[in-house]
Amino acid sequence: MANAARIFIQIVKRDLRVASRQRSDLLNPLIFLLIVVSLFPLGVGPGPDILARIAPGVIWVSALLSAMLGLERMFRDDFRDGALEQMMLLPVSLEVSVLAKIAVHWVMTAVPILFIAPLLALLLNLPTTAWGVLWVTLLLGTPVISAAGAIGVALTVSLNKGGALLSLLLLPLLIPLLIFATAAVEAAVSGLSATGPLALMGAFLVITITLAPFAVKAGLRVSVN
C-alpha cells in the first residue's frame, strides 16, 4: 500500500515536470477555449439577454471541445518513448499509475479553466448569482472529462489518427455531464436550488474516478502489445 502511494507520488511529480516543460501544449487549449467563447457573441449577436441565456451551454460545450484537444497528450508521449511499457511493468497495479496520470492531466488542463471561468462568465454576461454554481459544476465535471477521456485515449493511443476518432468516442459518453452541468447553472440563474443536478454530477465524479482506471487499463493492454 505504501509502495503504491510512493509510486503514485513519483508519477505525479514526473508528469508535472514533463508537462511544465511543454507549456504551449497546455496553453493552446486554453486559448482555444477563450477564442471559441468569444466567437459566440460575434455569431449570435452581442445582445446581453441572449448571451446570458446561452452562457452556461456555451461555456460547457467550449470546455468539452477544448478538453478533447488536450486529452491526447495524456498517454501519447509516454507511448512513443516507451515509458508506458515501463509503467505497465511496475510492481504495483496499473490502475495506480493511471489514476496518477488522470490527476496530473486534471491539474494541468482543468485548473486553469477554473481560474478563467469567472472571465468567461463575465464575457458572456452570466448573472453574478450563478457564478458560484458554474464554478462548482466545472470543479465537479472536469475530473469526469479527464477520467472518461483517459479511456478514449487509452483505446486510441496506438493509432496515428486519433484526434477526430477520440471525439467521436467520447462526446456521446459525456452528454449527461453537459446536461446536468447546464441544468445546474440555469437553475441558479433563475434563482432555484441547484443541489439536485450538482449531486448527480458528484455521483458521476465518484463513478468515473473509481471505474475508469479499470477500463483504461484494459484499453492500454490492447494498445501496448
Binding site: 479511456i151 483505446l155 486510441t156 496506438s158 493509432l159 489518427k161 476518432l165 467521436l168 468516442l169 462526446l171 456521446p172 459518453l173 452528454i175 449527461p176 446536461i179 446536468f180 441544468a183 458521476f204 471505474l211 477500463a215 484494459a218 484499453g219 490492447v222 494498445s223 502489445n225
Partner: protein
Amino acid sequence: MWRWLHPYAKSEATFALNQKLLPWFLIPGLLLTLVGVIWGLAYAPPDYQQGESYRIIFVHVPAAIWSMGFYVSMAIAGLIALVWQIRTAEQAVLAIAPVGAVLTFISLFTGAVWGQPMWGTWWVWDARLTSQLILLFLYLGVMALYVAFEDERAGGKAASILALVGVINIPIIHYSVYWWNTLHQQSTITKVITRFESPSIAPEMLWPLVVNIFAFMGLAAALIIMRLNNELLRREIHRPWAQKILNTGDKENSDAV
C-alpha cells in the same frame, strides 16, 4: 460458464453452431415479417385519431426496441470476449454493431416520417429521440474504432471495451435526456414487463405489433449470424475446415450449373 463457453472459442465450433441456429431464426423471422407486415398494414383497424399514418408503428417500435436490445447483446459479447479472451465473441461484437446501427437508423428515420404529420415537425430535441441519436453515435463509435486499427485482433478488443463502457452509460444517458426534455409518449408495450401494467393499445393493433417485434428479432438475429459466419470463414480461410466448407459449396454450385 467456462465449460459451456469454452468449445465456442474455436471458430469451427461456433460456425457449426451458427449453421444449426440460422434456420431457427431466419425462417420464423421471414414468416413473421410477412404475417406481421400484411396484418399491420392491411388488416389492423385505422387509429381514431391518427388515421392510417399510425401504421408506421409496425416498423418504428420493433426497430427501436431491438436497437437497444442488440446493443445490450453486443456488450454481453464484448464482456465475454474480454473476460474469457474468446476471439469469436469479439467477432460477434463486430457482427452485431452494423445491424444495430441500421435498426437505430430505421427507428430514427421512421420516427421523423411519423413525427412530421403528427407533431408537425421532422425532428424535436425530445428525450427519446435524443437518446436514440446518441445510441446511433455509440454504435458508430464502436464501428469506427474497429476500422481504425490495422490489427484486427486489437481492433476487436478495443471495440469490445468501448461497447462495454457504452452499456454502463446507456441508462445514465437515457435518464439524463429523459429528465432534460420530453415530448415523446410513454412506452405502451414494454411497460408490461417493466411496470406490470396492461398495455395501453387496442388488442387488434397490439397483436400485429407483437408479431412484428418477434419478426424483427428473428430477421436481425439471422443477419447477425450470417455476418458472423462470413467473418469466421474469412479470418480462417486457409484453415482446413474453412477450405472444406468453401470447396463443398463450390461443388454444389458447379453441380447446379
